[in-house]
Subunit: 282 residues, 2 copies
């Protein structure tokens, strides 16, 4: 165990070159070589300012009617959950004695209605999130919005030696919360409107996350009575997922810290907020 603990520190010191929990913030786009050498190669995240400030999207997309008008004939996938936590652990029974891995209710709806749901979300009633990881920007949005942004980010394309495999557009609100997960892709996360807060951990911290198997469940949603029901998959399917919630409620905090000491007693995660106009490499 001591060896693994010193691995956490060594990765932070040797590979990421830092024992602080903030990440590098570049005031302007790096050269492809600088980006590859100092961030991609050592798997080190960074925030880049002034990389997308020339995108018309930055002043066009915050305008709700512009988006609704441009996409009035499009259908998109709307993800609905009761509280804004999709792909996360929730109690599978009313007695709270076991957890399951709950996926959102997904509906195909016209874009203007979907955007309406995002804007009028209310935890306890429903929280809506437009999110897909299937290259949805290029397949679903780009006919209408393609001219509002660049098709790729030049210096990153040159550094990585290939165009993006997928480009996704996500539209959420401040209730949307994604639990700890891993993405095995090089990722450039551009925020066009609003901001997003990240907690990041290096891959060598995997042991601190208490990955366990949870039975999969899915929310169903009835529009008539506005009720969510959580339905366990049948036959049962197990999903390995991180047990740690980094922001436990005040009343759960003590028991969560006791259950997951490797996380709560270990080094703090890297923390950053990406604001509109900024790009996070991770």
């Amino acid at each position: 165990m001591k060896e693994i603990e010193s691995l956490w520190d060594e990765v932070r010191e040797l590979s990421l070159g830092t024992s602080s929990t903030t990440i590098d913030h570049l005031p302007s786009p790096p050269s492809p070589l600088h980006f590859l050498r100092n961030y991609v190669s050592p798997n080190k995240p960074c925030i880049i300012s002034n990389a997308i400030t020339h995108w018309p999207a930055l002043f066009l997309w915050p305008n709700v009617s512009y988006l609704s008008h441009s996409l009035c004939h499009s259908s998109v996938s709307l993800h609905l959950t009761p509280h804004g936590r999709a792909d996360s652990l929730v109690p599978s029974t009313p007695t709270h004695d076991s957890l399951c891995f709950a996926s959102a209710n997904v509906q195909r709806v016209p874009f203007p209605r979907a955007l309406d749901c995002v804007l009028n979300s209310q935890p306890g009633k429903f929280v809506a999130y437009l999110q897909q990881q299937n290259d949805c920007f290029r397949t679903e949005y780009s006919a209408a919005l393609g001219s509002d942004c660049d098709a790729h980010i030049g210096w990153a394309t040159e550094a990585l030696g290939c165009l993006p495999e997928a480009v996704n557009l996500w539209i959420g609100n401040h209730f949307s919360e994604t639990s700890f997960h891993k993405d095995h892709y090089e990722n450039l996360y551009a925020v066009v409107s609003g901001k997003k807060h990240f907690l990041l951990l290096p891959p060598t911290d995997v042991h601190r996350l208490y990955i366990r198997n949870y039975p999969a469940a899915q929310y169903s949603y009835s529009e008539e009575d506005g009720e969510f029901k959580l339905e366990m998959e049948d036959p049962v399917r197990y999903v390995p997922w991180c047990s740690v919630n980094p922001y436990p409620s005040p009343e759960a905090k003590e028991s969560e810290m006791a259950k997951f000491p490797l996380y709560f007693d270990g080094p703090k995660p890297f923390e950053c907020t990406v604001n509109a106009g900024e790009v996070l490499y991770l």
Copy 2:
């Protein structure tokens, strides 16, 4: 075990992008970005031609009297073994029933004498090798030979973002043989005269090498009677070393293959020969 075997294949396919056992050969030096993206980042070795052909060393150093004359006042570390295998496993007893990790006999001698020993090596009598990994070129040789080559390799320095941590000059002959080992450095191996043959394995193949602990021993050499004696270190010190000899003698071959099936039955190592004027990145 199946999982580890498929890891060997996956690393070859995904990371190295090849199922062949030859490595890329670049006809001329790559740009820093190309080198970093296609070789350093994916940990992929390559041979580069025409990278050092402008070094005067290429025509100066093969000339024995030039070297001896330039370094007539220098002392260097001469490594002596009976057969050319330093830092390798040899029988620790005359009955061959156990192995030890044998280091060369090291002597500080005037360079001209050392070079003489290298050139007049004879397995069974002695094999000499000038080798050190302590930045010996810059500390011991560069006053005399520094103007014969570049102080660093520009495109690699730019790609890696730093000057070499160590520059070493090794002078051996065709008897010198180095057993499987790992170097945890980015390495540019330039051959100025002669050639060197490499067998390379990706780090994920470590399980195929049967790393075990062997007691350390050191050769002593008596100039008077020209005899080597193998002396076990006292107190005993154990060195973890690779058990596999990739080139077993014909009579030992069958038993070696039976003892180390993960190596002999698994994917072949990457194989290459670096000729004078070429650089191997590894």
